[in-house]
Structures are given as structure tokens and as C-alpha cells.
Amino acid sequence: MNKINRNARQVSAQIVSNKKVGAYHHMVFNVGEIAALCKPGNFVAISVGGENSSMVLRRAFAIYRAVDRGAGNGLIELVVAPHGGGSRWLTSCGVDDVVDLIAPLGTAFGIPSEPVRALLVGGGYGSAPLFGLSEVLKARGCRVDMVLGASSAAKIYAPLEGKRSVSSLTITTDDGSAGVLGKVSDVLTDLIDSNSIDIVYSCGPMGMLAAITEIANAKGIMHQCAVEESMACGIGVCMTCVIPVRDSSGVIKMLRSCIDGPVMDGANVIWDSKRKIPEGTWGA
């Protein structure tokens, strides 16, 4: 059976709300019944720039939250950082504008069957999928702690309701403008120890995910991370978003972060592979 993109649907999604929050935009889209199929970790791919745009590729965004309102009605919420032409176009769209959106795409965070103690770690707008994940974990009886890091206070995305949904929230900033001065990895070991963490979930820049993997490996705990590699299509056809991943038999393969990810087991990813193919990779 074909399982690739099996829940994905291409829809015309109407913008319900678009609000600036700090350095980001919180945007809500009316997507119909596909909201019910979205899980924390999944992403959407949106075409940008309008019909005559010179931007030919879709833009991928992690789903911040999906709300199934029943009877085929549903919303997808995104946190968008307007840092490039495509995301600036999207955040400049108004309420009632319609965009071409494909969802849900990619793998989702694995949810443990038993109540465990989970630490959620987000970098910049990478924190977006963690709030929905937190809700799902708490519904399973898990204790959820969270660490959010960014370059400065304005780049921390932590909405009020998100703060309320976790047992503890630690903030780190590179410039010390909020929380602890430093990186999320500086506070991770202590948090894992003091809260007896069983599993780490993360989302953010690749360097941060690599640092978290090192700490999680040293502690012998699971680390599920949502990777960020630039994509052209988001649906598995272009082969540009690949990263080297070790499979269960020890073979390293270049896997697509849109189909085999974005959520991956951090311990299996070969980090530090920018601009080179790791030695021993299948077919290298």
C-alpha cells in the first residue's frame, strides 16, 4: 500500500486571522476536514506570491496547532517569521485572503503510551509545534517541562496559553535580554537531572538539535527532533531536503526530511553533515 503523503490534501485555505506577536505572525487558516488529520510535528506547504509570482517553490511551516471543529470544519494555526520574500508575502496577506495549502505533511512526534516526564525544547519560532505536542502529552498524563531559546527576547515565541500548559518554562537568550544568558543546551543537563526527564522533544535550528542529541545520548534518553532542511516541494519529489540518517542495520542513507521527517530520532541523524556526504553513506 502506498503510505507516502497518505493524508495530504491540497486545499484553498481562507485566512481567518493574522496577528503580529513579537517578531512573528500568528496566522489562522480555515482548512476544512484536514485539520482533524494533523498531528504535532506535521507541517504544511503553502504556495506564495500569487499567480504571477517569481517565487516558484512552496514554503513549509510547522503546524502550531490544528483545531478540529467537527462537521468538516477545521483550522490550522501557524507561527510565521517574516524573514524571506515568501514568508513576508504570507504575513502581508489579509483576513479572508485565500492561499493554496497542502497538509498534513511529514512525520509526527511519537507519543508514549505510558505517562512519562517529557522535556520540550524549542529554538526561535521552532517552538511552534511544541505547544500542540504539550497538550497531547498532558492528555496522556505526562509531565511536560519546556525550554525555549532564541537570540533575543523578541524572538521567543511563548504565548500565554502555552506557558500555562507546561509544568515549568525556562527561557534562554543569546544576549541575555530574557531568561538565562546562553543557549538551550547550557541548561539542558540540569533540567534533565532535576526533573528526571525520560524523553526530549525538540524543534529548531540544526546546530541546536545536534547539541541536544549529544546531551540526550550522554544521558541515555530518547530524543525526537523535528529537523529544518530547506525544501523545494515538501511532498517528497524534489530530493533537495535530504539529511544523512543511520538505519536500523547501521547503513547511512540520504533521507528526505519531508517524508522520513521532519520528526526523526536524533540519535540516528548524522549531524555536522552540511556541505559533505558522510563517509560510508550508501551510494557515496
Binding site: V56, K274, R275, K276, G283
Partner: protein, 309 residues
């Protein structure tokens, strides 16, 4: 009178002229969620090599104005696994299949052709002799009439039977019609025009080439005029050789340009990255346009731009 949308490349017949482009449709499974593959004239597979290949390091992609640069480097499982997994699945979907092959040497093309000769359910063989993403530019067979001929002859000698050979050429040459003439005389039944155009983007933050492979193949609407020109030139030189055209086709109007220049079928590539149903859009828009312009068949429109004033 009903409109005849069918077409042919060599001995192979297709219900409609809109194909995927090589390397732009994954294994077919990725797109099957969005439309039935039987809607396509044919699925053109990624270019498959003799052995498994990791492809190039990342970053492999840079978006450019009305296009993109890629340096995938022919990532794939190799011909044996491909024939075991990908082809049977495509056949099970009822899709028409054009298998694309790529080699690093003339021997590779011979080996690939021998592997293909016993495979049933295939409509045609695209011989990619023009992938720009190889370490050594001297290995781009289609840049030189001598190496282009050698690769196509190797396939022709080893393929046997009736399987049509489509030679895929690069526009990065002085005279593409001369290369076209050479590969046709070497045994190619049809031509695929055009492969991506070699390009580079330099990152002004890092002050280095953006792609790990430094150069990449430019695709998308930015190269469409190059495709139209190349198809026009080759059709003028070789009016009886069927052409599978590709290069920045995003809508029916774009496809019509390639057909008027001389293409008998059109592949949609980069547009699929921006819109998984782009092929369906191109197909319906093209048919409507041809009918609106008064053509009774696709065939009537092929090369129509060449008619006398």
C-alpha cells in the same frame, strides 16, 4: 468531431502529451495521493544509474527568480532495486512508463540498456546524457558529438527489440541541432529537450557558492525561452524526429509554446514542486487552448510556428 489529444514518440503511443519530467515525480507514489497516475501521458522516472548513489551534499537547492537551481546528483537506489520496486508499483497503477537512465561511462549505458531489454511494461527509454550535476563537466556526454554518439550507440546496440530511445540533450552547447543530428544517426528515435541549464548562486552572507556542489542545474520558467528556442532549432533541422519538450512549463499556454515550436509531448518538472497537481492543470488548459485555436488534433499543432508567412 472529437479532438485527438494522443501522441507518439517513436513506436510508443500515449493517450495525451503531458508527462512528468525526469527527477520531478519521485517514485510516482508521492504524486499518486494527489491524482491518479493514469491521467498522465506517461510517468518519466528519475534517471537511474547502475549502482546506488547518495547524490551530492546539501545544500542542494537555491530558489532563483522564476526558477531554481538544483544539484541533487542523481540520488537513487541503482537499477536492480529500481526494477524490483519502482517499476512494478508503477505498472500496478496502470501508468505508462518512460524509464530514464544515466551513466558515468559508455559501458554504464550498455549495462543499463541490457538490464532494460527484458523488462516489460515500459513504453520508452529516456537516455539522459546531459545531467549537469556530475563532478567532471567532461562527462556530460551531450556536450560533445563524439561522446553523445558513443552513449546512444551503446544503448542502441544493447537494447534490442522495439523499445524507443529518447535522447535527452543539454542546451549548454553552441549548436544543439548538430548534437541532435548526431544522436539520431546513432540510433535515437526521439529527443528530450531540454535538460537544466548550468548555473550558480553565490551567497552574499557567506561569500561562497550557495550550493555544496557549487554549480547546479537551473530549471523553471526562467529557462522556458531557452527550451522553446532549442526545440524550434532542432525541429527545423530534423522535422521528422519526435521531440519530448520540457523547460519551465507551468500552464497550458507554456505547453502550447513548446508544441508550436515542435514538441510532440511536454514534460512538467519544476512546476510540480510548487503545485503537485500542475500536470493536471497543464493538461486541461492545453487541450482547451488547442480546441479554442481551431486545431482538430494535437498533431496538427506540432511545429505550427514553423509554417510559411
Amino acid at each position: 468531431m472529437t479532438f485527438d489529444f494522443s501522441t507518439s514518440l517513436g513506436q510508443a503511443r500515449f493517450d495525451n502529451p503531458i508527462f512528468t519530467a525526469s527527477g520531478c515525480a519521485g517514485s510516482g507514489k508521492e504524486l499518486a495521493q494527489f491524482f491518479p497516475l493514469t491521467e498522465l501521458g506517461a510517468v518519466v522516472t528519475k534517471s537511474i544509474m547502475v549502482k546506488a548513489r547518495s547524490g551530492r551534499a546539501t545544500p542542494r537547492m537555491a530558489e532563483t527568480p522564476s526558477g531554481m537551481l538544483n544539484s541533487i546528483g542523481l540520488q537513487g537506489p541503482g537499477i536492480d532495486i529500481f526494477l524490483e520496486n519502482d517499476v512494478p508499483w508503477l505498472i500496478s497503477q496502470g501508468a505508462k512508463i518512460v524509464v530514464s537512465i544515466a551513466g558515468e561511462s559508455v559501458d554504464d549505458y550498455a549495462v543499463l540498456a541490457r538490464k532494460m531489454r527484458s523488462v516489460s511494461g515500459i513504453s520508452a527509454l529516456e537516455v539522459n546524457i546531459s545531467c549537469p550535476n556530475v563532478e567532471n563537466r567532461g562527462q556530460v556526454f551531450a556536450c560533445d558529438p563524439v561522446t553523445a554518439r558513443a552513449a546512444i550507440e551503446a544503448v542502441r546496440r544493447n537494447i534490442g527489440g522495439e523499445l524507443p530511445i529518447i535522447a535527452k540533450l543539454t542546451p549548454d552547447v553552441t549548436d544543439i541541432s548538430a548534437i541532435a543530428e548526431e544522436v539520431v544517426s546513432a540510433g535515437a528515435d526521439s529527443l528530450a529537450l531540454i535538460n537544466t541549464v548550468l548555473g550558480m548562486v553565490i551567497d552574499t552572507e557567506t561569500l561562497r557558492p550557495r550550493l555544496a556542489g557549487k554549480t547546479g542545474g537551473l530549471s523553471g520558467p526562467a529557462i522556458r525561452p531557452i527550451a522553446v528556442r532549442a526545440i524550434y532549432q532542432v525541429h527545423a533541422r530534423l522535422p521528422h524526429v519526435r521531440i519530448l519538450g520540457m523547460g519551465g512549463v507551468t500552464n497550458g499556454n507554456d505547453a502550447l509554446q513548446l508544441i508550436l515550436a515542435g514538441a510532440s509531448a511536454v514534460s512538467v518538472g519544476t512546476a510540480t514542486f510548487g503545485n503537485p497537481t500542475a500536470v493536471m492543470k497543464v493538461k486541461s488548459e492545453l487541450q482547451n487552448l488547442l480546441v479554442a485555436k481551431g486545431f482538430n488534433s494535437l498533431h496538427e499543432a506540432v511545429g505550427y510556428a514553423h509554417r510559411a508567412e
